[in-house]
């Protein structure tokens, strides 16, 4: 009897589901970056950047030893297919081992691909159980993803890491919108706002730049925001963690370091119709650098400065809003979200034409900046009189 019971317990795991495959780590290709683009004749091109761990260790040890590395730590391969899945699987024709996608650090989307619509194509990423949801998504501007992935960074042996880290850095400066795959899925599924994704451009063979934002409308790429518009957009949508803003002062230049910021967006209603958009941003900052002769020791001086800062930020937000309303007619800010929450009945009526209504609404932007500290100095660096 006892034996039977033990046998039953031992057989139980067979009923459970789990990751069945027993695959050795040495038998997989570790994909660090994925690029998706379309050819002119509508085929999908998938590019993978795969790291060769053995070679990677060789290079890092030879760097220490001062020798030169023989083999490259990464390889980049592209393959065409009808769908992303098809291209990835067919790629086995040219790569040696199974492609392991969970380690993907960045996903680069091509311009042409984005223009034709990302929603359907990204279906694969959602279905596949090996997708890494914290992958950073970027849209390549002016280049193909393949070109981006083929750069040879001299900062990090793996270009994908380099790209991810630059995106991280820029996001901290609020010059690029950082979008992970998970956020992208959420944004795509949300009917109340439009998708935006960070932008990446190639500077030269070893360098990329992540600044600016790609604006989508109904899943299709419609245009771009430059770095200042991006910052205005991020201020309004409460995504700024910190940044540096240059303020033109009468007698010189000044950089203000923004420490905390919070943005609030509302749609004001009048007689059951939306009357205007309201954006309120409050933030705190410090003086980071000042090339001038004024002393900011009196409250009046600081108020003056705060006013200047307010105007500067308001300008950026205005630019971003203008772009979204006039050029792209795409509610990337998510005002729709507010309407959906607070005026659900009205929202149901206008859900299809909300972007047009949004484009025509006037905006009231209020920025309330506070300057808290002036660094280690009270007066500018100059000879005492």
């Amino acid at each position: 009897m006892k034996i039977k019971k033990v046998a039953v317990v031992l057989l139980l795991p067979a009923l459970l589901t789990g990751c069945w495959d027993n695959v050795d780590l040495a038998d997989i290709n570790i994909v660090t970056a994925l690029g998706i683009d379309k050819t002119e004749d509508g085929k999908i091109v998938v590019t993978v950047q795969v790291v060769e761990p053995g070679a990677l260790q060789l290079t890092s040890s030879s760097q220490q030893g001062g020798g030169s590395s023989q083999s490259k730590p990464i390889f980049v391969k592209s393959y065409q297919g009808e769908t992303i899945y098809d291209a990835l699987i067919s790629m086995k024709a040219i790569v040696d081992k199974r492609l392991f996608l969970s380690t993907t650090q960045v996903l680069i989307l091509g311009e042409r691909f984005c223009k034709e619509g990302i929603n359907e194509a990204l279906d694969f990423m959602r279905r596949n159980h090996n997708t890494e949801y914290l992958t950073d998504v970027l849209v390549a501007r002016g280049v193909t993803p393949e070109e981006i992935l083929k750069i040879q960074s001299d900062m990090d042996a793996i270009p994908a890491i380099y790209i991810k880290e630059t995106a991280e850095n820029t996001a901290i400066r609020a010059k690029v919108k950082r979008t992970t795959l998970m956020e992208l899925f959420k944004e795509i599924q949300n009917v109340c706002n439009q998708v935006t994704i960070g932008q990446i451009t190639k500077v030269d063979e070893t360098t990329v730049k992540t600044e600016g934002t790609a604006v989508f409308k109904d899943g299709k790429l419609v245009g771009w925001l430059d770095q200042y518009q991006t910052r205005g957009y991020l201020f309004a949508t409460d995504r700024v963690k910190g940044t540096v803003i240059n303020v033109p002062v009468d007698d010189g230049r000044m950089s203000i370091e923004v420490m905390h910021s919070s943005g609030k967006m509302e749609v004001k209603f009048k007689d059951g119709r939306p009357s205007h958009l309201s954006i309120r941003v409050t933030l705190e900052g410090n003086i980071g650098e000042y090339a001038g002769e004024k002393m900011f020791t009196s409250p009046e001086g600081v108020y003056e400065l705060e006013k200047l800062l307010n105007r500067e930020i308001k300008k950026e937000i205005m630019m971003a809003l203008n772009k979204a309303q006039k050029d792209y007619s795409s509610d990337i800010f998510g005002f729709g979200e507010f309407v959906h929450k607070h005026h659900p009945r009205y929202w149901k009526e206008v859900v299809d034409e909300w972007d047009d209504i949004f484009s025509k609404l006037p905006a009231d932007i209020q920025v309330n900046a506070k300057i808290r500290r002036g660094g280690l100095m009270k007066s500018p660096l100059m000879r005492d009189e």
Partner: protein, 527 residues
């Protein structure tokens, strides 16, 4: 299957246990010394260590005494000084008149100056006393014989035990001699309530076994159970307390130890004070303690001698080490073979680069490395001490450097096995258990990944919770939860805060379980 096996084992021991020595000698002592001599010579034929000395003295040789003993077991100096010389002196100088009975009385009461003299009137007992190291005096004409305790001090000195090392606390360890061990315990517990119940086990060896407990502290149920189980042992000889352990354990097929053992005096005394029962066995320094619970494996005597903070920290560390030594290789194999998704990106590159070019699968690699380590360990135990250095050098080179350079094992696997090996030494009572469990977990990990590890883990926990040691749940005080006894479990309170005695050993269900167990034992002995 197990029942059948048990029955067969049972048959085997009973066939062997036919009493071969004393079949024709269970009889009263003859009064004629010639007949005694004849009989003893027959019994001790071909025993070159048997010595008998006949003393004939008195005026007309009327006093005839036979002194029988085994050479080496008896301290000849004491025998001469206390027995033979006084007899010779007495009877040579004195004119004797009287009957043999008076001579016997005289010898017993006035002449022998030894402090341990007992009488016997049974041939079998006399022979038993001779072989256990006493000298026996047969007086012509008397139907009784005198047993004089002149045992030579035997065995090694009390010294520090090698197997259980502690930083603080007594360095005295038990020795092979039962008497010495009893002294060591008695010295620490000056209390008549400390009881030593002596029995003999082994039909051939007649080994002295002693049940030791503190009356009033120990659970009577458990003492009775120990007596019962010991009585049921049928075998030719008990060479080590390990024999007893296997006979009296509750679950004979469990990997986990259900009977504790210790070589350290202070540790054993602490267990007695907690209400446990000790079983001393002549000829081995390892003294058994029952009931033995899981938590005792991670307790050390040092815990109680130092501050409770450190002890608690160390106990948690020990439990962690136990888990690591059981599961680390399995976890590694599961991660590398199945669950690449949960490995952080930078680690996966390190892992993959170390796996590059290894011809074996992680499972085979782990098996090879662990086997190599077990070889080394076993060699270290069996080999003469003087070669130890050479072994450790070879081991370090083979396991560490060479296997990695040759591309047989990956760097990380060497680290994993090394950590596992280190951890396996941290909880010595369970080290053999962990060794076997490690392989079981490894196989499960290779078949089903984490799922397999969890299934085996849960099975092990179920098994642990079902185990009983002398009726006490093995996982107490955690399962069943005994809040009062948590004070001395994983987190330990300071010694001054332990105001109540352990209650686990008196748990209500202990009683019922002991009852069930006893019936089971009876059933086995019936068929």
């Amino acid at each position: 299957m197990f029942e059948r096996l048990k029955r067969r084992l049972k048959l085997g021991t009973e066939q062997d246990s036919i009493d071969t020595i004393h079949m024709d000698i269970d009889e009263p002592l003859p009064s004629n010394i010639e007949r005694v001599k004849e009989k003893l010579e027959k019994v001790f034929s071909a025993c070159s260590d048997y010595i008998q000395r006949e003393i004939v003295c008195g005026e007309d040789g009327s006093v005839r005494i036979l002194v029988s003993f085994i050479e080496g077991l008896v301290d000849k100096k004491i025998l001469n000084q206390d027995v033979i010389r006084p007899i010779l002196n007495h009877f040579s100088s004195m004119r004797l008149e009287g009957k043999p009975a008076r001579i016997y009385q005289l010898i017993m009461e006035c002449i022998i100056s030894n402090n341990e003299v007992i009488e016997t009137d049974n041939m079998q007992q006399a022979i038993f006393k001779i072989v256990s190291g006493d000298a026996v005096l047969f007086v012509n004409g008397s139907k009784r014989a005198l047993v004089v305790g002149v045992k030579a001090p035997e065995g090694r000195q009390v010294q520090e035990p090698d197997t259980e090392v502690s930083i603080r606390g007594s360095r005295e360890g038990f020795v092979e001699n039962l008497g010495t061990n009893m002294v060591l315990i008695r010295k620490r517990i000056k209390n008549p309530n400390l009881k030593f119940e002596r029995i003999q086990l082994g039909s051939q060896t007649k080994t002295d076994i002693c049940i030791c407990y503190i009356k009033g502290l120990a659970n009577e149920e458990i003492i009775n159970e120990v007596r019962n189980r010991l009585k049921k042992i049928r075998c030719d000889g008990i060479l080590d307390s390990g024999y007893i352990e296997q006979y009296i354990t509750d679950n004979r097929f469990s990997l986990f130890p259900l009977v504790g053992n210790s070589e350290k005096c202070d540790k054993l005394v602490a267990k007695l004070l907690e209400g446990r029962v000790a079983i001393l066995c002549d000829g081995t320094p390892y003294i058994l303690t029952v009931p033995y619970l899981f938590i005792e494996a991670i307790q050390t005597s040092d815990d109680y001698y130092d501050h409770a903070f450190f002890a608690s920290f160390m106990r948690i560390l020990r439990l962690l080490a136990l888990l690591v030594s059981i599961m680390l290789p399995a976890m590694y194999v599961a991660l590398v073979s199945f669950h690449h998704t949960v490995i952080p990106f930078k680690l996966i590159i390190a892992l993959a680069s170390s796996r590059q070019g290894i011809p074996f699968s992680p499972f085979v690699e782990a098996l090879l490395m662990i086997a190599a380590f077990e070889f080394l360990r076993e060699a270290g135990v069996r080999m003469p001490r003087t070669i130890g250095q050479a072994l450790s050098i070879v081991g370090a080179i083979v396991l560490g450097e060479a296997s990695v350079n040759a591309g047989i094992a990956s760097n990380l696997m060497v680290i994993v096995v090394a950590i596992t090996a280190i951890c396996s030494f941290i909880v010595p009572p369970l080290s053999r258990t962990t060794m076997l469990l490690r392989f079981i977990f490894l196989v499960a990990a290779n078949l089903f990944g984490f799922l397999g590890i969890f299934c085996v883990g849960i099975s092990v926990i179920i098994h642990l919770c079902r185990l009983r040691s002398f009726g006490i749940p093995y996982m107490a005080p955690f399962s069943p939860l005994t809040a009062a006894d948590l004070k001395d479990s994983l987190i330990m309170v300071p010694i001054w805060a332990m105001i109540t005695r352990p209650r686990i050993l008196f748990q209500s269900d202990a009683k019922s379980n002991v009852g069930i167990k006893r019936q089971e034992v009876d059933k086995i002995s019936e068929d």
